[in-house]
């Protein structure tokens, strides 16, 4: 590419052309996943007469949106080269706290806000310990998982906390999951592409010393990202609480956070950091949700489902790895 060409391109570089450029890039990066998703839909439509159904697609979108809420945050966390395994526990703790406050007669808005602040505080604690004490994210958030899980049991005494107010329910129930999930995704996309935050996060994940030398407040950014992740876990928890009509102390134990972690990676974000592919994360969530529903509807027994999900996760990533590799060669 010659300099002249570059200049014409950049002088016409407006917001709109940025978006076009972004979409082109996204398609190039994720076509493997798109193909995989279409293939899944086709296969399930053939294996079950019940699959092609508005209700099913609605469910898939809702389920994907649920995972998306936390997976969006996780995308940012792993972009910095970190990981947060405490999200499931944060989700349960904050839901139980908010529900307990509601059961004590507090209006749902302050109750939910307190839970949200608590979640962000848990995230901030994670981020601070990781940053300022230079500890590994995995082990810090693992310890946090135990702490939060323990607190949840202590507060709830092991039983679901009921008395969820109607206001709370309608704010987080049903289609609101989709609204919340996609708003968070789009908001994050805008922030990542239109502000310096995205570049700084990728900078930290790509090379922390470089970012430090360039004057990026590395530690502060990290605290911020983990706080956002904490707050998002809370929102995910609220949607779960609203749909259960109770705060379950055992919510978020395994599949919920594992999928929130798997989705970004399926979507081409790397654990090593330095990359943010939010569209990929969305594709990861959709793939997982489609797979689960499709297998359920096709009547595949749970043991075979486990095997199938394992295989599909591996193949989705394999396709991604191979398409990326081919491009590089």
């Amino acid at each position: 590419m010659s300099t002249a060409q570059l200049h014409t391109q950049s002088s016409s570089g407006s917001f709109a052309s940025d978006i076009m450029h972004l979409m082109g890039q996204t398609l190039r990066q994720s076509w493997g996943l798109i193909v995989a998703l279409i293939a899944l839909v086709v296969i399930f439509s053939l294996t079950s007469p019940y699959f092609l159904n508005i209700f099913v697609f609605d469910r898939i979108l809702t389920n994907a949106s649920f995972t998306l809420i936390m997976a969006t945050g996780m995308t940012l966390v792993i972009a910095t080269g970190g990981i947060d395994v405490s999200v499931g526990a944060t989700l349960a703790l904050t839901s139980v706290v908010a529900a307990t406050l509601m059961s004590l007669g507090l209006h749902w808005i302050p109750a939910a806000s307190i839970g949200l602040i608590l979640g962000a505080a848990i995230g901030a604690t994670n981020g601070s310990i990781i940053s300022y004490l230079r500890l590994q994210p995995f082990i810090v958030t693992l310890a946090m998982l135990s702490l939060a899980r323990g607190l949840t049991l202590i507060i709830s005494n092991g039983s679901p906390v009921r008395s969820i107010s109607d206001g709370f329910s309608s704010a987080f129930k049903g289609d609101m999951v989709m609204v919340i999930g996609f708003s968070i995704l789009i908001l994050t996309m805008i922030v990542i592409h239109r502000t310096r935050i995205g570049i700084h996060l990728r900078g930290i994940g790509g090379s922390e010393p470089t970012s430090f030398i360039c004057g990026i407040p590395v530690n502060l950014m990290r605290v911020g990202v983990y706080s956002v992740q904490g707050a998002l876990a809370v929102l995910a928890g609220y949607t779960l609480t609203a749909s259960f009509n109770a705060a379950e102390p055992t919510a978020g134990l395994s599949t919920e956070w594992l999928e929130a972690l798997a989705a970004p990676i399926i979507g081409g974000n790397t654990m090593a950091g330095g990359r943010i592919r939010l569209f990929g994360t969305l594709m990861g969530c959709l793939l997982l949700a489609t797979m689960r529903s499709g297998l359920n509807i096709s009547g595949v027994p749970v043991a075979w489902q486990q095997i199938a999900i394992g295989l599909i996760i591996v193949s989705a990533v394999a396709i991604d790895v191979f398409t990326q590799r081919k491009k590089r060669d």
Binding site: T3, L6, S211
Partner: protein, 515 residues
Amino acid sequence: MLDAIISAKNIHKHYAGTHALSDVDFEIRSGEIVGLIGENGAGKSTLMRIICGIEHPSTGTLTVRGKPTEFSGPHAAQADGIAMIPQEVLLVDELTVVENIFLGHEISGATGLSKAKMRSAAQEILDELDCTHIAPTQLTGSLPKGSQQMVAIARRVMQGGAIFVMDEPTSSLTGSETEALFRLLRKLKARGKSSVFISHRLEEMLEICDRIVVLRDGKLVGDFPNDGLLTKDVLVSSMVGSDMADEFSRKISEKGDVILEAKNIAVRTFQGRKTPTISFKARSGEVVGITGLAGVGKTELAHVLSGLREPVSGDICLHGKVTKLTSPVTALKNKIGLVSDDRRSEGLVLGMAALANMTFTSLRKYLGLLGVNRKAEHAMGLSMTKKLSMKPEYLARDANLLSGGNQQKVVIIRQLCSESEVLLMDEPTKGIDIGAKSEVYQLVGNLVAEGKTAVLFSSEPQEILGVCDTIFVLTDRSFFGPYARGDLDYAKLMAIEFGTVDTESMTKETINEYQ
């Protein structure tokens, strides 16, 4: 006399086990270019890191524009207009060139980031540095090291300030890139800005610097105004503490059989261009030099010969037999070893001790009854460090805590002590001080005298002309050679590299000689 913008007094710096700096006084005045030289590990980078707020001195004071100052971190120094381009290029590989250039200093408009504005500004500064081949939207990690260095320089300039500290920027730059950099330094100087410039190439220092400061073993041993009378010899003896004989001297030995032969090999350069076909023979007892401008494909050729990538066409013959080198594993099996030009990402395991880095390919030699015999391993390390004038305590230190030059020595030592017959060395003396350089050449000479072969890939004409028995020149259009030692001089070599000689006749001459 000009005012000192920053002056450091009685600076000491201790690390666990080392005294990196002791009692150093150093100042930078406005509008001057200060040169800083010294052997590897003398403390140059450490001193600069302290001046730029990246590290704190153990004791000593910094005064900035007359005010005693203690920098809390690099951003504090940056706020005072002082920042550096570190020795090991610090860029984020996963970010694009623009993003790297503006990292931490992004421009925002009403609707968020002004990407177009940044792109054109980046393009401008790259143009100013003569880097038209770098596209601002390219991923930085995909750029060659030299271009990365230029991006780092562009970033530094873009961020502005009063003092530009550059730690060995030219060790990965080519002639023309260096010239572009010097033009920039002069321009900055004309604007009243100051620079600190570190390099092991003393000619460069004499060309660009107003004043040259010498460090030895953490102490300041000389401060010479560059008044036109200053010579390289004065600098060398101040640096090393004694005079030095010819730096390129090595044992010259009898040539034996052809060990390695490249037959009509073409490789693809990282820019996607195909090189002309390359054919050469390397005999035992011979040091073959392959030179050419940056980006012509020397590194890729070295990669092909060491099995790291496949050639577009052509064959490799070992001992007269066509051999397919499918991976570095087969290369190692065929006793071919490579000293990579990228020590940080390909040459070293940074988190591992220097000794372990030296021995991991030859560890089998030290196997005893109870596994690896650490004593024997250590003894080998000691003997090699002695030969390359490294301190013995470096052996136990993690590679990333060594000074840049010493890291490079570790990479070379690994190849020297593995049993390779063919030693491919891609820019092996990058960042090594002048004394160690001559030691490396001598060691290579000794190895070759034992019947081995060395192929030196280098864009440094002096090195190629001084060290090699046989020289080939790779250009965009053709592969020239062989030239015996003495056939070429600097002027002729340049003429070939830049294509200003009658290449028709040269090519014919080459082919005739070759057959």
